[in-house]
Amino acid sequence: MNVPLRRIVIVDDHEIFRAGLKAGLGPTVQVVGEAGTVEAAVPLIKSLDPDVVLLDVHLPDGGGQAVIGPVHSERPAVKFVALSVSDAAEDVVAVIRAGARGYVTKTISPAELTRTIHRIADGDAVFSPWLAGFVLDAFNEGDAPTAGQSELDQLTPREQDVLLLLARGYTYKEIAARLQLSVKTIETHVSNVLRKLQLSNRNELTRWAAKRRMV
């Protein structure tokens, strides 16, 4: 199988954790740089122009979202994945709304992380079951759709189906089989949900995130 080599940067303030991540990634992923602070990460990413950045949600001085903003304006092709030990929903949602393409927990297996990096580099959005479940609830919470809400504030029934199966632990392939759709279509649905999560003005999104944590 001809898998392209992905160049990645790891941003995490724990050196031991960075070393552990690096050791577990397969030969198809090359770590070209590491940073432990927001200050060091921004110029490093700009100069290295990697495919994917693994970004810790809990960085001192502004968190992961502080890295995404300045890089995005200059290097829109660089893709970010949020990594977290999974505690505050608020932080994870903040990083995703800042532009991250996905979210995985730090307990993810190295093989799974390698697969995630490839999928993100290919332009997919990556939702963990946790994130799918929470997004589903955030969009469902509150009242029925009102006239003032834009298309961005609503999930289509199909998107809800996909998210529900993702939250139940189904893979894209299993979802495609169950809903009798192609994997490509599932990917499109998830990307659309990510876009809505990033762009929606729905009040519930922030309010909902503020009062929840992930376990």
Binding site: G133, R168, V215
Partner: protein, 390 residues
């Protein structure tokens, strides 16, 4: 703070309770203290001035203690006054008593100083506790009295001395004494206060540290000990996982795992139990929560049964669980990618599905659906409508 300050005694008093209070604080019989004051009276009247100054310096009797009625001690007071009068006149006659024109201003100055000092002490002890508005008037009165007494004493000195240089000298001497007292007492007061608040902070910190240490000992340290003794990576992983959840629930949730009172906590509790018991890893997703009621409790029990089945029969190491709850509906999905089964050939010992899962859900107005086929894994869907409850 009351323990640190001298109080006049309410119960053991003859005049103002000064000797009773002093004796109580020093651990001496008040009678001896009274004797000491009485002996100091002939020494130029110093005893009297010292008594008045001490009375001013001491705080009034504790509010709770009963005051000895005046009638009971009238005799003692009369006797004392008589003795004092006799002693004073005898001393005056023999020329041992200081002349009144020296004694009076000195006494005024002493009492004024005492008032000023006490004023400073109460002001610095302020700032803790509410209800400081009331004594404000009292403080002002006391300050005014102190100033009047000090000025009065000084004027008297000037008046009868006539000699400006002598008056200036005694004024300077008084100032030096006052400054000395201030220097002596001020820093000590401040230091005592700083020490007290540092001690309080330290005590709070120590208590916090102790409770955290106890908590960590009971949980993390025990688990670490178990992990060291675990012979395979899997059980070590399981222990670590369980500990991680517990620690996180404590750090961020503040919920007690032993007594779950919400749907999410109860389900997590059940999940952990199954994880430890059957050596599986459960991927638990529960974005929403609600207070636990009878129906939700039944849902948790049914979910636990489904989890146990998956752990026992699926033959895979992982189970995914999604739990959602809203005002309208609660649902739990338990999914594994294991070997699955054919429902038409369910052996007798798996009647648990029918009773513990489907029967239980039906009794609480819900339903259970089981999707499975050999080799396809199993998913149990538990749905509990909540909207039309009484």
């Amino acid at each position: 703070m009351d323990g640190d300050r001298l109080r006049r005694s309410g119960s053991d008093r003859v005049l103002l309770g000064v000797c009773g209070g002093l004796g109580g604080a020093l651990g001496i019989d008040p009678v001896l203290v009274r004797l000491g004051f009485a002996l100091a009276v002939p020494l130029g009247g110093i005893g009297l001035a010292a008594y008045v100054m001490t009375a001013v310096l001491m705080v009034g009797p504790a509010p709770a203690t009963p005051t000895r009625p005046l009638r009971a001690r009238a005799q003692e007071i009369a006797g004392l006054a008589l003795l004092l009068a006799i002693a004073l006149s005898a001393l005056a006659a023999s020329g041992l008593l200081l002349p009144l024109d020296v004694l009076a201003p000195s006494a005024l100055l002493l009492v004024g100083l005492g008032l000023a000092w006490r004023q400073a002490a109460t002001a610095s002890a302020r700032g803790e506790g509410p209800g400081w508005a009331r004594p404000l008037l009292l403080d002002a009165l006391r300050a005014v009295a102190a100033i009047v007494l000090l000025i009065g004493g000084a004027v008297l000195f000037l008046r009868q001395g006539g000699d400006v240089t002598a008056a200036a000298a005694s004024a300077v001497a008084a100032a030096v004494v006052a400054a000395g007292i201030g220097l002596l007492v001020g820093p000590r007061l401040r230091r005592a206060q700083a020490v007290a608040s540092a001690e309080r902070r330290e005590r709070i910190r120590t208590e916090e540290r102790a409770s955290m240490a106890a908590r960590l000992h009971d949980s993390v340290l025990q688990t670490l000990a178990l992990v060291q003794r675990a012979d395979d990576a899997r059980s070590a992983q399981r222990l670590a996982r369980r500990q991680e959840r517990e620690l996180r629930a404590w750090l961020y949730g503040g919920e007690e795992l032993d007594a779950p009172d919400t749907f999410a906590a109860a389900l997590r509790h059940a999940t952990e139990d199954v994880e430890t018991r059957y050596d599986v890893e459960v991927e638990l997703v529960q974005p929403s929560d609600a207070p636990l009621d009878e129906d939700l409790d039944a849902l948790v029990s049914a979910a636990r049964e489904a989890l146990t089945n998956a752990a026992k029969h699926a033959g895979t190491g992982t189970v995914s669980v999604l739990a959602r709850v809203s005002d309208r509906e609660a649902s739990v999905f338990v999914r594994d990618r294991g070997r699955g089964f054919d429902r038409t050939h369910v052996p007798r010992d798996r009647a648990g599905v029918r009773e513990s899962i489907e029967g239980r859900m039906a009794r609480h107005g819900g339903r259970a659906q089981i999707h499975t086929a050999p080799g396809e894994g199993t998913e149990v869907e538990l749905i509990l409508p909540r909207g039309d409850r009484p």
